[in-house]
Amino acid sequence: MSQQDSRVRAFVTAFEALRAEVEKVIVGHHDVITHVLTGLFAGGHVLLEGVPGLGKTLLIKTLSEGLELSFSRVQFTPDLMPADIIGTNIIVEDADGRKHFQFQHGPIFAHILLADEINRATPKTQSALLEGMQEGAVTVGGASRPLPAPFFVLATQNPIEMEGTYPLPEAQLDRFLFKLRVRYPAIDELNAIIDRTTQSRPATVSRVLSGPAVLAFRELIREVPIASHVRDFASAIVMGTHPQWEHSPEVSRRFVRYGASPRGAQALVLGGKVRALAEGRYNVSAEDIKAMASPALRHRIILNFEGEAEGVDTDTLIGQVVEDAEATAVQSREPFLR
């Protein structure tokens, strides 16, 4: 077995182990867990959307327990200020009685940041995360301070309660690699949740992965090759969400105001690479891209008035865009090459 083979095997093992640890606590939500892990190894941030009580926060806390990484949690409220997240300079008196400014680190200075109910904070506070999420560093008092690597933001938001909330601006949303929808559990899963959470001894989660290992896997993932026709397929999907594109499907032309940004294409390909490697493959396939389409694009598409009025589901729309891109790719080929 070559060195590359062993690295890939190690990744597959780590991925499965981490998932297993999370699933010790979280019942169901298999896809959500997989996508959260995908986001972690792809080097992106993940936004979880779901009604209260579905275990979003618990999932993130459990994940942090499975990793040998620092974890901090910020409960976003309307009166939360940027300094409460980033940190601030405070006057400190030393032993000699001299006073000087000292930077007090905010909760953002952690490997894993749980931004709970992120849409309850004002846009100003939400924006405090922007630089950290994109650059991996924050600037306070004119000095740039790097965040620990790997830096991974997991945010949650409630789609129902809209009073007293501030929907995330598009620029902020675009920084999230994936937006995951946490659905209500099925009855079997609900029964399992009851059994697990009402037992006397809660499940213990082991730490299975360290920070450097995560960084090494991130490097490995970027080496996964992707064929040009698979890359073209990803581009066609992203372009298909743009109503202005000449080949975009009717559903996009009718219901979409703005399509996905190039970050969407990056998310598709990176997510596809993680998925391929997690399945023990050394290359990205079209199926990987298709599997990543909804989580990578659903928060990057802005519906127009007609789309909002008709209650168009973004996932359905993306599904149609993917189908159209696939059909176009197939139809342009002669029958013997399809």
């Binding site: 070559s2 060195q3 590359q4 083979d5 890939v8 490995l220 080496e223 996964v224 090759p225 992707i226 064929a227 040009s228 026709h229 698979v230 391929a276 493959r281 050394y282 290359n283 990205v284 396939s285 079209a286 199926e287 080929r333 029958p335 013997f336 090459l337 399809r338």
Partner: protein
């Protein structure tokens, strides 16, 4: 190395399969079009001769072979083949990615693992047929031309259409002509007088046509005669020919008096000549028209005129004008001759009682009434809701000379027809005669019936307020009294 051979082997097999399917596909298409060409050849079996079935069969085979060669020779891209393999064997784009990245300079270390993995999987594959059969549309319809070819090959040859205008004579007349043929042959073999030599072109042409397929030269084909400029340039003397007395013409006249219910009235002499004249002059200025073709047409009209038409002189005039280089005049003469042909054609149709019976009846009644009391009533000539379309506009009716039924009217009017130039055949009608200067009165008489009917309808349907009914009726009554 051995493993790489395994992948090349897989791609080679798929490439061959793609080529085979392409060969089938294009072979069927080629066979179809070859069969269509063979069908055309068999249609002309009379001209081609006994080799026609062989030629047709060869065309089918050649078409199929050409299609197969084209399909097999078309390039099959390596990456295309790799994608087919990926899809067929569920390899998740491994082969295509390996081929693309295997030779790249910026390949990562993971690519080596990918290549090894792909080769291992390819080695373990069970090779099967992966490229589906595609039946072209032509393939579905291939039996049609093939069966048609077989039927035509077994059938006797279909006679080819001749280049001359169809002779409108009835079969009985042909028989009589056959009887007179011997006389004509004798005439033509006699030494000709000086005048007769001038007319040789007409007689010879006439003979050649009546002789049908029995001539030594290409009988029935006028082109040979038309190309003989020495004959065509001689001035014909139609009157002396008539004086000489041709029994055939007399017989033709007698035959014309009989109603010929078997004739195809949609394919009259006039229509044939009209179509020819349209195709000759359509969209061209007089100086652009080929004098040779115009002469051919005029000669043909003249020939038809001799069979019992009154346009022969016009056709002669046209030919004389053409010889003098006056194409304009030749065209005018041709148009006159055409008008006369049309008039005769119309007269023949109505005379044989095939259509226009009511018009004739009404016309003759009007004439009788006009003779009787001298004052044919207007309302008898034009019933309620009927009337002509007088004026200088265009009429939708192709009927030209509708004057006869109006002769008894005090508002004597004729409607002349002229063939309208353009894409669609039609006639412009103009008023002539006394009513030309009384157009308004005629229009009134023509339309008053319609207006009165419309008025009654409107009142019946309560489209008019009740208070106005009497007023409107009084108005129309006052018009009648005037």
């Amino acid at each position: 190395m051995e493993q790489r051979v395994g992948m090349d082997d897989l791609l080679g097999r798929i490439r061959r399969e793609i080529r085979r399917r392409r060969g089938e596909y294009y072979g069927l298409r080629g066979a179809f079009w070859g069969a269509v060409a063979g069908f055309a050849v068999l249609l002309a079996k009379q001209g081609v001769g006994g080799t026609a079935p062989w030629v047709a069969g060869s065309l089918v085979v050649i078409g199929a072979l050409a299609g197969v060669v084209y399909g097999v020779a078309r390039r099959v891209g390596r990456l295309d083949t790799a994608r087919v393999a990926d899809r067929a064997f569920g390899l998740h784009d491994r082969v295509a990615t390996t081929l693309e990245w295997g030779e790249r300079a910026d390949r990562t270390s993971l690519v080596d693992a990918l290549v090894a993995d792909t080769l291992a999987r390819v080695q373990a594959l069970q090779i099967k047929g992966v490229v589906r059969h595609v039946l072209p549309r032509e393939g579905r319809f291939l039996p049609l031309p093939v069966v048609a070819c077989l039927v035509l090959a077994l059938m006797p040859p279909i006679p080819l259409p001749s280049g001359r205008l169809p002779d409108m004579l009835a079969p009985g007349e042909e028989e009589r002509e056959d009887r007179t043929r011997s006389t004509m042959l004798e005439e033509t073999t006699r030494p000709l007088a000086k005048d007769a030599q001038k007319r040789a072109s007409f007689e010879e042409r006439d003979f050649a046509q009546r002789a049908g397929g029995g001539g030594a030269t290409t009988a029935g084909d006028l082109s040979a005669i038309f190309k003989d400029t020495s004959l065509a340039n001689q001035r014909p003397d139609f009157n002396s020919f008539l004086k000489k007395g041709d029994e055939r013409l007399k017989m033709l006249e007698q035959m014309d008096r009989l109603p010929d219910l078997q004739s195809d009235f949609t394919n009259s002499q006039y229509k044939m000549v009209f179509r020819k004249s349209k195709s000759l002059t359509g969209g061209l200025r007089p100086n652009q028209i080929s004098p040779q073709k115009l002469r051919e047409l005029l000669e043909e009209m003249e020939r038809l005129g001799r069979k019992g038409g009154n346009w022969g002189n016009d056709a002669m005039e046209g030919m004389e004008a053409l010889e003098g280089g006056q194409t304009d005049r030749a065209l005018e003469a041709m148009q006159k001759a055409l008008d006369k042909m049309r008039a005769m054609d119309d007269a023949e149709r109505s005379g044989k009682g095939l259509r226009g019976g009511r018009e004739n009846e009404r016309g003759s009644r009007g004439r009788e009434r006009g003779r009787g009391d001298g004052m044919g009533g207007d309302e008898q000539d034009f019933g309620e809701g009927e009337g002509l379309l007088p004026g200088r506009g265009r009429s939708g009716s192709p009927k030209g000379e509708a004057t006869q039924r109006l002769r008894a009217s005090p508002y004597d009017v004729g409607v002349e027809g002229e063939s309208r130039r353009g894409r669609k055949e039609g006639f412009d009608t103009n008023l002539t005669g006394r009513a030309g200067s009384m157009a308004s009165r005629l229009q009134y008489l023509g339309v008053i019936g319609q207006y009165r009917k419309m008025m009654e309808d409107a009142i019946t349907r309560e489209q008019v307020p009740r208070d106005y009914h009497d007023q409107i009726r009084n108005y129309f009554q006052a018009l009648d009294e005037r």
